[in-house]
């Protein structure tokens, strides 16, 4: 179980570090084992920063990130259980070496005592688990493999560890439509085997395809989150509605977003927290309407 509690990240900005930018502002959510949570937002919404904090690549300024009750602390023990896959598979490989060298690196760092034969079997199993044919991909150079194959090899590499949680940051945005869906289906299969996945994307349709839960981010803050069906079936925040209306659909003209008449957050009595739970597992932030907050506070 991954738990984020009021996680904030502030970057120093400006020529002499005088100013500061809050990239992530008091974000809380949970991701259980066997659950895929999608993190949706535009560029600059802080979604990748959250991914980096979960991986321990950046430290949170305040708030707590815990995995199975333990604080996120980068180190060998942590990376055995948590791994990330990123947007550009082509830049994750050294073009001079064969692609399966990524497996050798894992072996050297994490499984030095495993005999050759057993290691070969494990690699073969991991490669089959990501639905690749070992004969076709092992022993090849990166330029001989497609983007989808490289991306799946990176997932296979993560599977060689005792993986409990995977951060997938825009992993399909550089892939073609025909191979993209294979990678998504693979994630769905892994999640059914108990892996927790944080799926970061700006593409709503890909997010909804897999996720049990969705977190919609804007300018570093959560605007709406909860059960995917509830968030996108009945979006309460104007931003979620705008996003949903802007998605291009085949054979359906774009519709304008339905305006939000009442702020669900203030309607719910403007609780002390940032989000109001309108129904079980459906949280929404203040809609920012002109008359919001006049009656309360």
């Amino acid at each position: 179980m991954l738990t984020l509690d009021r996680v904030t990240k502030t970057f120093r900005a400006g020529a002499f570090g005088g100013g500061s930018t809050t990239a992530v502002d008091r974000v809380s959510f949970e991701a259980a084992p066997g659950e895929l949570v999608s993190l949706i937002g535009e560029s600059g919404s802080g979604k990748s920063t959250i991914g980096r904090m979960v991986l321990g690549l950046t430290r949170a300024s305040s708030g707590s990130l815990t995995l199975d009750g333990e604080q996120v602390r980068p180190g060998k023990d942590f990376y055995r259980r948590v791994q990330g896959v990123f947007q550009d598979p082509f830049s994750c490989y050294n073009p001079v070496f064969k692609a399966d060298r990524v497996f050798a690196l894992v072996r050297r760092a994490y499984h030095p005592g495993v005999p050759d034969k057993e290691w070969a079997d494990r690699v073969e199993k991991a490669v089959r688990d990501v639905r690749l044919d070992p004969g076709q991909v092992l022993g090849r150079y990166p330029h001989q493999l497609s983007g989808g194959q490289l991306q799946r090899l990176l997932i296979a590499r993560a599977l060689l560890l005792d993986l409990r949680f995977l951060v997938a940051d825009e992993i399909t945005s550089m892939l073609d439509a025909s191979t993209r869906i294979d990678v998504l289906n693979l994630l769905a299969g892994l999640k059914e085997r108990g892996l927790g996945v944080l799926y970061i994307t700006h593409d709503l349709s890909l997010g909804t395809y897999l996720a049990e839960r969705t977190v919609v981010l804007r300018n570093g803050r959560v605007v709406e989150r909860g059960d995917t069906q509830k968030v996108f079936g009945n979006p309460l925040h104007p931003y979620t509605r705008t996003l949903l209306a802007a998605v291009p659909r085949l054979n359906e003209p774009w519709t304008s977003a339905e305006p939000v008449e009442v702020c669900a957050f203030h309607e719910g009595g403007a609780p002390d927290t940032d989000l109001y739970e309108t129904e079980p597992d459906h949280f929404v932030a203040c809609a920012g309407l002109p008359d919001c907050g006049r009656t309360s506070a």
């Binding site: 073609d176 869906i181 294979d182 998504l184 709503l204 909804t208 897999l210 998605v247 291009p248």
Partner: protein, 314 residues
């Protein structure tokens, strides 16, 4: 008829031989038409766009003709093409975000570009065009670094169409943008066509969903060849080529869920274009392929304005 492309072949020279990136593509583009060009990476869609405006050093025009408003374009003559570039045929490149000179304010850059073509700036007209794509006139006083990605994209669109070209090629202009910016850019492109600033347009993208919003007709390419071309509605609702069908089948729509109905991708990958196999190039990945597919399928017009290159579709 604005543009007629006939059996165009453009190859890339590499150390290991010729890559047949564009291997016999033909189509017509009518006045006022927006043609969507879709396909996987490496299918030749960008090569087609580039061939119409400038062949770079590695590209070689092997055969075929391109006729624009009655004139045949001198594709392989870089100098002679200058008369057509930007005046008759223009391009919004894939790299629009980095196409602007970082050391010039947008307004000065436009003045310099127009001066290089011997045209003076009509400030009112320029303001009108900026408004059309949803930009404030004060962007002219700003540097590119002060604009967002979507704004830069739209500024380049205005610059590319200043000379009212007959054909505008928009190459993957939306792929780096968020959904809301995509919508604005697509709206701006349609606006340019509706106001008659560009006569026709070729909209290159790998996103079939987005193409269906802007294009009057869609052409799907596969491995350097045309697979299917039809009016948008026909192509998206009644595709005939197995590749088009599978491509549409692999598109997740909002609300589609893995739990309810897993989508399927297309197994395998396109053939190498260095020495492409004879016959139908899709046959290794095609569920319908049989012995006949070893022979190359001709492009057949199975219905008015609906052409397919597949033995199984006829």
């Amino acid at each position: 008829m604005t543009l007629t492309v006939n059996d165009l072949r453009v190859h890339y020279r590499t150390l290991r031989g010729e890559v047949r990136a564009l291997d016999g593509v033909g189509f017509d583009l009518a006045d006022g038409e927006i043609l969507g060009l879709a396909g996987e990476s490496g299918c030749g869609k960008t090569t087609l766009g580039k061939s119409l405006i400038r062949l770079d050093g590695r590209m070689r025009h092997v055969g075929g003709t391109v006729t624009l408003d009655g004139d045949e374009l001198p594709l392989s003559d870089d100098r002679a093409m200058n008369a057509y570039r930007f005046h008759k045929i223009s391009l919004v490149p894939q790299y629009s975000m980095s196409a602007l000179n970082p050391t010039r304010r947008i307004g000065r850059m436009i003045r310099e570009l127009l001066a290089s073509r011997g045209v003076t700036v009509d400030t009112d007209e320029l303001h009108r065009r900026l408004a059309l794509v949803g930009l404030e006139r004060d962007v002219l006083d700003r540097y590119p670094i002060e604009l967002s990605g979507g704004m830069k994209q739209r500024a380049v669109m205005v610059i590319s169409t200043l000379l009212d070209p007959s054909v505008l090629i928009a190459d993957e202009v939306t792929s780096a943008l968020d959904v809301s910016n995509q919508q604005a850019v697509v709206g701006a492109l349609t606006g340019l066509r509706d106001k008659g600033l560009v006569t026709s347009m070729i909209f290159v993208t790998h996103d079939l969903g987005l193409t269906s919003h802007i294009a009057d007709s869609i052409m799907v390419m596969y491995a350097g060849k045309l697979a299917e071309k039809a009016p948008t509605r026909t192509l998206t609702t009644e595709p005939r080529h197995p590749y088009t069908k599978m491509l549409i089948g692999s598109l997740p729509q909002v609300g589609a869920r893995y739990k309810d109905k897993p989508l399927s991708g297309i197994e395998g990958s396109p053939p190498s274009l260095l020495n492409p196999p004879l016959g139908c190039r899709f046959r290794d990945r095609c569920p319908l392929a049989d012995a006949r597919c070893a022979e190359e399928p001709p492009v057949v017009e199975i219905a008015p304005r609906h052409s397919v290159a597949c033995w199984k579709a006829a």
